[in-house]
């Protein structure tokens, strides 16, 4: 059995998505900007995809921008929305638990005198709303808060936050990990929202940015007029078509799938907590997405667990320092108040539509022994 419990990292492309993409990877190869019929065919496919995505999130087609990756969409949202405000505003707010895509782009803004403050979170990963209330004013150019944290699964109260901001600043939310949440932009009341197709059974290498009409955005890449002047570059027709199909499939029967995943998640969490002594679930116990379950396992190190699980054909992920390129433990866990030595024992399991109870049972059979073996190997501290 091969068990893929790392859907938060990336997902398998749905066969229907692949089918929708194929013509644009084979005989429908025109450049959408060309005036001949090859080009027009491509252009229409993009138009159709844009319209479909817009309707699925309650936006209008002109509010949908395609980028080369979700990270690029976040960059466009942050840098693109703040730069036009140079001279009028000088501050930004983001959170201490953003994905690197939602933190690093602020480095581009610092040389232009924009100071960025981070909103702290509690030990469950929920943003401090009173801090936000205290710090929001009309000197803030942008508030950037991710909808669902990808490491621990905690859901932020986006609509409530939008109400607090009350139009004083532009509000962007990175919804890459929020595939099983409500994506209705009118309900969320955001100005900008990033979607990541490769997290919902679509292709990698494409990002979707919702830009509310009236939001002033400046392109960060120059070289053409594509995507309403916001993102030049010959359009990746196949991936745009694939992204639209993936979103369509995601939104179809969503509540049913959420219920199914909740059941699996429950079974997984109950199983780990009861079978493995010294294990803890991180993130909010209730306000969490149905697909992510992250644990802290005492007395073992994350990468060692990962590789042992991989040897049993189970894919997972960890926030331990050893798995990070920079050898630092997860900044998310640290921001939530966990000590480095606790963060080293972290394990993230993320479910998806292709996972089953059978797989959860197999995992629960295998995991406790792996933990015991690794614990036996460790010195008594």
């Amino acid at each position: 059995m091969k068990v893929y419990f790392d859907n938060a990292a990336s997902t398998k492309i749905d066969s229907q998505v692949l089918e929708a993409m194929m013509p644009y990877l084979t005989n429908k190869y025109g450049n959408a900007s060309s005036l001949h019929s090859w080009g027009q065919e491509a252009s229409q496919a993009i138009s159709k995809a844009r319209k479909k995505i817009a309707s699925l999130i309650n936006a209008s087609p002109k509010e949908i921008i395609f980028t080369g990756s979700p990270t690029e969409a976040v960059n466009l949202a942050i840098v693109g929305s703040v730069m036009p405000q140079m001279g009028q505003k000088n501050k930004c707010l983001t959170t201490s638990i953003e994905h690197h895509a939602g933190l690093d782009p602020f480095d581009h803004l610092a040389p232009h005198s924009f100071k960025t403050n981070t909103i702290p979170v509690d030990n469950k990963g929920v943003v401090d709303l009173s801090f936000l209330k205290k710090n929001i004013n009309n000197k803030i150019a942008l508030v950037n808060i991710m909808y669902v944290n990808n490491e621990v699964g905690t859901i932020q109260p986006i609509a409530e936050i939008a109400k607090l901001i009350a139009g004083q600043a532009i509000f962007h939310t990175d919804a890459a990990a929020a595939k099983y949440c409500d994506l209705n932009v009118k309900t969320l009341k955001v100005d900008l929202m990033t979607l990541a197709p490769h997290k919902f059974y679509g292709p990698k290498g494409i990002g979707i940015l919702y830009v509310k009409r009236g939001t002033k955005l400046k392109a960060i890449i120059k070289g053409g007029k594509h995507e309403f002047g916001l993102r030049p570059g010959t359009e990746n027709v196949a991936y745009i078509v694939g992204a639209a199909k993936a979103l369509e499939l995601l939104q179809k029967d969503k509540q049913k799938e959420i219920a199914r995943l909740k059941k699996l998640q429950n079974s997984l969490v109950k199983g780990v907590l009861s079978k493995v002594k010294g294990s803890r679930l991180t993130g909010h116990p209730k306000k969490r997405c149905p697909d992510v379950a992250s644990f802290l396992i005492k007395g073992v190190e994350g990468e060692a667990i990962l590789l042992r699980l991989d040897a049993k054909n189970i894919a997972s992920s960890s926030g331990s320092a050893c798995t990070a390129g920079d050898l630092m433990p997860s900044h998310v866990l640290r921001a939530m108040g966990y000590k480095p030595e606790e963060a080293h024992g972290s394990l993230r399991l993320s479910l998806g539509k292709y996972n089953s109870q059978k797989e959860v049972n197999y995992f629960l059979n295998v995991f406790p022994k792996i933990v015991n073996d690794l614990r036996r190997m460790a010195p008594k501290l």
């Binding site: 007395g299 073992v300 190190e301 994350g302 990468e303 060692a304 590789l307 331990s320 320092a321 050893c322 798995t323 390129g325 050898l327 433990p329 000590k339 480095p340 030595e341 080293h344 190997m377 460790a378 010195p379 501290l381």
Partner: protein
């Protein structure tokens, strides 16, 4: 892998904050070597809390050191350990350093206890 009860020497390096802790235990005996009695590592065991590289490098260090004289054991370098494993990714080289450090400290501790004269 494991513990040596009443070891002749041991050392623990690293700390849970950075993520790796390696403990090395030594059993040292004398071997009659035609000309003179030579001290050698009769048994060596490791206990590790850490990533796969930390576990692998401490295991290899014990493999390389077992049966060697104290002088030979001192010569074991992190490059020897990395080579035995067929190389290590750059970010993991520090793990091999930690394992060799543990061995070296254990040998130091032994020598301190058995200072001559």
């Amino acid at each position: 892998m494991g513990e040596i009860k009443r070891p002749d020497a041991y050392a623990q390096v690293g700390n849970p904050v950075c993520g790796d802790v390696i403990k090395i235990y030594l059993r040292i005996e004398e071997k009659d070597n035609k000309k003179k009695a030579e001290k050698y590592i009769k048994d060596i065991k490791f206990q590790t809390l850490g990533c796969a590289a930390a576990i692998a490098t401490s295991s290899v260090t014990t493999k390389l050191a077992k049966g060697k004289s104290l002088a030979e054991a001192r010569k074991i370098s992190k490059t020897d350990v990395a080579q035995f494993l067929g190389g290590l990714p750059k970010v993991k080289l520090h793990c091999s350093m930690l394992a060799v450090e543990a061995l070296s400290e254990a040998l130091d501790n032994y020598e301190k206890k058995h200072k001559q004269g």
